[in-house]
Amino acid sequence: MANDPPAGAQAYVQIENVSKRFGDFIAVSNVSLTVERGEIFCLLGASGCGKTTLLRLLAGFETPSAGRLLIDGQDLADVPPYRRPVNMMFQSYALFPHMSVERNVAFGLEQEHLPAREIARRVGEILEIVRMTPYLARKPHQLSGGQRQRVALARALVKRPKLLLLDEPLGALDRKLREHTQFELINIQQQLGVTFIVVTHDQEEAMTLATRIGVMNHGEIVQVGTPRQIYEFPATRFVADFIGSVNLFEGRLVEDEPDYVRIQCADLPASVLVDHGISAPPDAALWVAVRPEKIGLTREQPAPADNWAHGVVREVAYLGELSVFLVRLDSGREVRATLANSSRKPEERFVRDTPVYLSWDASSPVVGSG
C-alpha cells in the first residue's frame, strides 16, 4: 500500500489480520493496520461497520477470533483490560456518577497504588490542562456536556497510556462546541504526545482530527490514507461516495495512454479526459467521480472538446459562503455543483431554469473499476 509508514522502524500499534465474529456475524474481517507513535488515527465508517468493535478489541473488552494485536512490540493476546497500556474514552463518557470530578480522575491512579501526594499532583496537573480545576468537587451530573467530555478525557489521559482510544469523542456535543473541542483535542494530544485512535462516523471530524484515516465498511478496512488522499484519491467507489458528496458516472474506457485516459459515459455528451494513466483492459467498465466543488458553471460552451456537459439548473441552495446547484443534464441525470459566492453582481447568478454548461479540469476526475 502506498500509505504504509516508512520502512525500518517497527510500527507502534500493529493490528495483524484481526477478525471478530459474533456467531454468524462478522464484525471485523481480516483487518491489518499500523499506527505510528504520536499519530491521531481515525477509524471512519457508518454505524455497524465494525469500527467500535475494533476499538473494543484493542481495549480488551472483546477477544479477537483470529489475528494479533501488538502495542510497542507487546502482544496483547493474554493481557486483561486492566493491565493493558491502553485507556479508552467512552462515547457515553462513562463517568462514575457517585464520584466527584477529582475522584473520577484519581480512580485510575489509585489502582496503580501510587502515593497519595503523587496522585494529587498528577490529577491537579491534568485537570489544569483540560481547564477543569474549578470544578473538581462537582459530581458528573452537575456538569455540562462539554465539561463531562473534558473530565472523561482527563480521566483517560492521567494514566499516561501508550495508546488512547476515543469512541465518538465529540458525538454528544452540539455543533458549535464540537468545532471548538476538535482543536482543543489536537492541542492536548500534541502537548502530551499520546497516540490516539479515534472512532467516528463524522467525516468532517475525521478530516479535522486525523493525521491518517482508515475508512471501514462491512468490517473491512477499505482505504488508509491522509485526509487529503482519502478525499482526492478515493480508492474505491464506496470511499468516493462515503467521503463528501460526489457525482459518479458509469463509463467505458475508449483510449488508454500512459499519461492520459479517455472515458465515454452514457450520461455525458463529451468524453471524460483524465490526466493520468490507469491500468485497465481496453473497453473496461469504469466509474468516474467528480467532486461538486471541482465543477464550474458557464453560460457559453467551454472551448475544450472534453470534460463538459450541458443541463438546466433545477435547484439552488444558498449556504452563505457557497451555493449548491442541482443541474439536470440533457440525459436526465442530476449533477451537483458548488460555487463560492465570490461575486455580489446579480447578473452573474445562476437562477433556477437557467441553461448552463458544466466543465471540469482533466486533473479533477477520479477513475476506478472497483
Partner: protein
C-alpha cells in the same frame, strides 16, 4: 367543564380514600377507646392510652415483636444476598442453558398462593428432618428460610430491573482504568445498585414482618411471630390492645414511608438545582 363533572372528581376521590383508609382510621380511633368492648365507644373515659400501656407490659407481645424483628432482619439480609445473585445471573450471564427456567422459577413465588408455598415448605422441612436430621425442629430457622424463599423473588425482580438500566460502560471504564473485576464490583457496581438493594431489603423486611400464612405452616412451638400472636388473639375475640398494637405498626410503617418519600423528593430537588447550576455556568463550554 360542566358543573356535574366538577363535582364528580372530588366525589370519586373521597370515595376512593374512604374505601382505602376508613377501616384503618376506625381502628386507630378505637385504639383510644376506654371500653373493653371493641365496638362500644366509652365516651366518659375516652380517649385513653391505657391499651398502649398494657401492651408494653404484655411479655408475650414484646417477645413476639422481638422475634418478628429478628426474623425480618435475617430474612431481609439473606433474601437480598440471594436475590441479588439471581438478578445478576438473569441479566448478566447472557443466554445460558436453563435461563428461561431460572427466570420462571424466581418469579413464580410472586404469584404462587401462599398456602401452597407454606404447605410445600412444611413438607420439605419435615422430609429434611427425617433424612438429614436438619433442621432439627421447626422454629426461627425454618420461618426465616421460608421467608427468604419467597422474598428473594422480589429482590431478584428489583435488582434485575436496576441492572437492565445499568450502563455497563461504567464497569468497562473501571476495568480499563486498571481495577480488577472484584474491585470494579465493590467500587462501581455495588454503590450504584445500592438503592435497589436497600429497597429490596426494606421490601423483604416488611414482607416477613407481616406474613402470617407461611409462618403458620413452618413455625414450631415457642416460635410465634407478632402477626401470628395477633391472629390468635383475634380468634378469641378482638381485644382493644390489638387495636393499639396495630395502630403502632401502622404508624411505624407510615413514618418510614413518608420519610423515605421526603428524602427522595429532597434529593430530586437538589439534583435539579445542580443541573440548572451546571447549565447556567458561563464557563461551562
Amino acid at each position: 367543564m360542566s358543573a356535574r363533572r366538577v363535582l364528580l372528581l372530588p366525589t370519586i376521590l373521597a370515595f376512593g380514600f374512604a374505601f382505602l383508609y376508613l377501616p384503618i382510621l376506625s381502628m386507630i380511633v378505637f385504639s383510644f377507646n376506654a371500653s373493653r368492648l371493641v365496638t362500644v365507644w366509652d365516651a366518659a373515659h375516652s380517649p385513653t392510652l391505657k391499651w398502649y400501656g398494657e401492651l408494653f407490659h404484655n411479655q408475650q407481645i414484646i417477645d413476639a415483636a422481638v422475634l418478628s424483628l429478628k426474623i425480618a432482619a435475617m430474612n431481609a439480609t439473606g433474601a437480598t444476598i440471594l436475590g441479588t445473585m439471581a438478578g445478576f445471573a438473569l441479566v448478566r450471564f447472557g443466554r445460558f442453558r436453563g435461563r428461561a427456567l431460572l427466570a420462571a422459577l424466581t418469579t413464580a413465588p410472586l404469584v404462587l398462593p401462599e398456602i401452597i408455598t407454606g404447605l410445600s415448605l412444611l413438607l420439605l422441612f419435615v422430609a429434611m428432618e427425617q433424612l438429614l436430621g436438619w433442621p432439627s425442629s421447626r422454629g426461627v430457622t425454618t420461618i426465616t428460610l421460608a421467608h427468604i424463599s419467597f422474598s428473594l423473588s422480589y429482590v431478584a425482580v428489583i435488582v434485575q430491573s436496576r441492572l437492565i438500566g445499568f450502563d455497563q460502560s461504567l464497569e468497562e471504564a473501571a476495568l480499563d482504568l486498571g481495577a480488577r473485576p472484584a474491585k470494579v464490583f465493590a467500587r462501581i457496581t455495588l454503590p450504584l445498585i445500592a438503592p435497589a438493594l436497600l429497597s429490596g431489603w426494606l421490601l423483604s423486611f416488611t414482607l416477613s414482618w407481616d406474613d402470617v400464612v407461611i409462618s403458620q405452616f413452618v413455625a414450631g412451638p415457642g416460635a410465634s411471630t407478632l402477626p401470628m400472636v395477633i391472629f390468635s388473639k383475634v380468634r378469641l375475640g378482638v381485644s382493644p390492645d390489638v387495636n393499639a398494637l396495630a395502630t403502632l405498626m401502622v404508624s411505624i410503617v407510615a413514618v418510614g414511608a413518608v420519610s423515605a418519600a421526603l428524602l427522595l423528593q429532597r434529593r430530586e430537588r437538589r439534583r435539579e438545582r445542580d443541573l440548572r447550576l451546571a447549565l447556567a455556568d458561563p464557563g461551562g463550554g
